[in-house]
Symmetry: C2
Subunit: 417 residues, 2 copies
């Protein structure tokens, strides 16, 4: 594959997007359902090819975490299929009338949701992104260009070919779903130049990948940066609830972007709370790193440095800071946080509302685990990422978020006077 081939793919996607813009809801949902069936029909082959790629990755000395992400087992396969079926059942994100009125002269104006056009998804090893991303893109009437990691290329290609067959059998254009089949970085570089044909890029992976892409292209990028998530235990928090929420936010799955990284404890309840919290974290093997005040109250914990407040550990480490007030908690979060998910434990409605208003984050959790932020618990279904941007989409990126809108005005010879 050379530059002209990447350009050929991008042009085909642009044409497919124009055709897709008229595809009815029932046609798109039939396509999703056929894509699920088509996946089922190649299941044995997918498992076989995937097992070969997993073996190869192991032989090449890849980490356990990486080979685990790469693996499609029975459960992952069923999950991929079921997500396509579920996205088919969701309400149509297109042709929603978002606003509308008739002006004094009788011109009827409405603002309606339409597809973005062509979406490029660049991702690392998880093959389920292949099917999830194609699903939300087709649901929202977008053409999609997939670009997965080299280590999963055969698996991803097989999954994509099956989905293409399903989509085409429902009447969607041949190039509604495409995958870049060549390994190596060159093709990604070419993709980044396709600003005439691609409307938005969504990179899924480490911060380095996202940064490289965002800085190397004129195409708008929906970015999924760090989740440096905080929980603030207010002075009036229910102690048991606070411990449960802190432990669940940190420990339920330490490697996820909505896991807790920094715990803020109000000075007025620190003496009571910190020993209870330490017990909870100790029994989950979490290393605590505390501010000076925290170290005075808890023994045997390491000091937190300035760098700790900036760190997304994605590991069994938690930084702990005592704050003098809710204002200090909010300032800390807005300064060190990444605007992903931040929570408070409080019994006071006023305190909750102040936190809700002033914390500048995509998700604000009141007496709820930070782990509950995301497409699933928000009722969005499949998502292709969690945006840490503030423009266009903030938080989970589902099929609704892959739309834009157009204004349509119906007149009867209306002129401007």
């Amino acid at each position: 594959m050379n530059a002209s081939t990447v350009q050929a793919i991008a042009k085909q996607s642009r044409l497919a997007a124009q055709q897709l813009s008229s595809a009815s809801e029932s046609m798109r949902n039939l396509a999703l359902s056929n894509m699920a069936d088509s996946l089922e029909s190649v299941k044995d082959r997918v498992m076989e090819i995937n097992a070969q790629e997993v073996l190869k990755a192991r032989q090449e000395g890849q980490s356990d975490a990486m080979t685990k992400r790469l693996t499609i087992d029975e459960k992952v396969f069923q999950y991929m299929v079921s997500r396509l079926k579920k996205v088919a059942q969701r309400p149509d994100p297109l042709n929603r009338v978002l606003e509308g009125h008739t002006n004094p002269a009788g011109l009827r104006v409405c603002k309606k949701s339409v597809p973005l056009g062509v979406i490029g998804i660049i991702y690392e090893s998880r093959p389920n992104v292949t099917t999830d991303a194609a699903g939300v893109c087709i649901k929202s009437g977008n053409a999609v260009i997939l670009r997965g990691g080299s280590e999963a290329l055969q698996t991803n290609t097989l999954l994509t070919d099956a989905m293409i067959a399903g989509a085409v059998s429902a009447g969607l254009p041949q190039h509604a779903i495409q995958i870049i089949r060549m390994p190596g970085h060159e093709a990604v570089g070419e993709l980044l130049k396709m600003d005439d044909y691609i409307d938005v890029l969504i990179p899924r992976g480490g911060k380095g990948l996202i940064k490289r892409i965002a800085e190397g292209t004129r195409i708008p990028v929906i970015k999924h940066y760090d989740g440096i998530c905080h929980l603030y235990i207010a002075a009036d928090a229910d102690p048991m609830q606070a411990v449960e929420l802190a432990v669940n936010s940190k420990c339920q799955s330490v490697q996820t972007c909505n896991a807790l990284e920094t715990l803020l404890v109000d000075k007025k309840c620190a003496k009571l709370m910190l020993p209870l919290l330490q017990t909870g974290f100790n029994s989950n093997n979490i290393e605590l790193r505390g501010c000076e005040e925290t170290q005075k109250l808890l023994h045997d914990i390491s000091p937190a440095t300035e760098e700790d407040w900036h760190t997304e550990y994605l590991a069994s480490i938690l930084s702990v800071k005592i704050v003098n007030s809710i204002e200090e908690a909010i300032d800390h979060i807005n300064h060190y946080g990444s605007g992903h998910t931040d929570g408070i434990v409080t019994q006071s409605l006023n305190t909750a509302q102040q936190f809700e208003q002033q914390v500048d984050s995509a998700s604000v959790m009141i007496n709820a685990s930070t782990r509950l932020s995301g497409g699933g618990d928000y009722g969005l279904g499949s998502v292709v990422g969690i945006s840490t941007d503030k423009l266009h989409v903030r938080g989970p990126v589902g099929s609704d978020e892959l739309t834009t809108y157009k204004w349509v005005a119906y007149g009867n010879g209306h002129l401007r006077g």
Copy 2:
């Protein structure tokens, strides 16, 4: 003013934005009303200073068009004041519940509109942008940093100081509205580096200015590029309506971004339509440039080159092309257009719907003048531009469009299982 001063301004705006995030609707509306009153109180001084700046611009040999844009006469002044009062009366763009549900476990989730944060507006000579932009930013709870053209610096500073006094008297923070008071390009360069403090930049001016800004910053930019607007006269168009719409779209104000630049005429009605259209345009002194087929039907018109189809004339020139079908019209628009405003004249609902779905533009006008696209006729009130982007905001940028949202989840100790 040096770099550290621009940074100081940006930091102050960030702090002001945090305070503004809790400003109630009534406080923001009172601020807008006080801003209008405060402007009235400095009217004589504004007129005086503005007259000096207009004189200076004339003496420096600036064009009539430029000095006209710079001038605040009685009508412009009243317009500026009335726009602030009107924006105060509009529905609150903040705290709208955009979505919401209670999940099966009883977690209450809602997605509500919130301010973007800090908005930088970089604009050229029209001083009414100063008041319009401040108005929509304050309405939407954003802190605003204004940066107008050097030629209007004294006028803009006076207007801004009056607005600041009004805003502060309503209880808004001192730095909710700021203006960069130093002339020259250096300050703009510094502003572009403030990605830690500024959430979005909106440049208003020529394509060169917008491009320079978009390519010189990591801050997201809402772009207002060309308006290469089309009108397609379908085979079944009502001839008189078609002529009226074409003439109004082109001639009502040739220098505006939603004025017609290319007319597409269906082959099946070209013989009938073109002479009627030529008569209409001739009496408005519009120069026609035609494709080969058009030149066969109309005499004494110059040929249109490839470059003409790409050109936003903003002048009394119109390119004319005969197309074989609606598909060819749509392809031409999607290829050469700028996604701003494109219209059709037709009596067929099917034809109108095909055009509405497949033309990839911010505004699609059915039997209505392209000149009717915009905040006013769409019921948005004051706008700070017309976005030709597809992400975040498309078309008119009013106070609703200067918001983002956050997800807020209210639990009662809800954990992830």
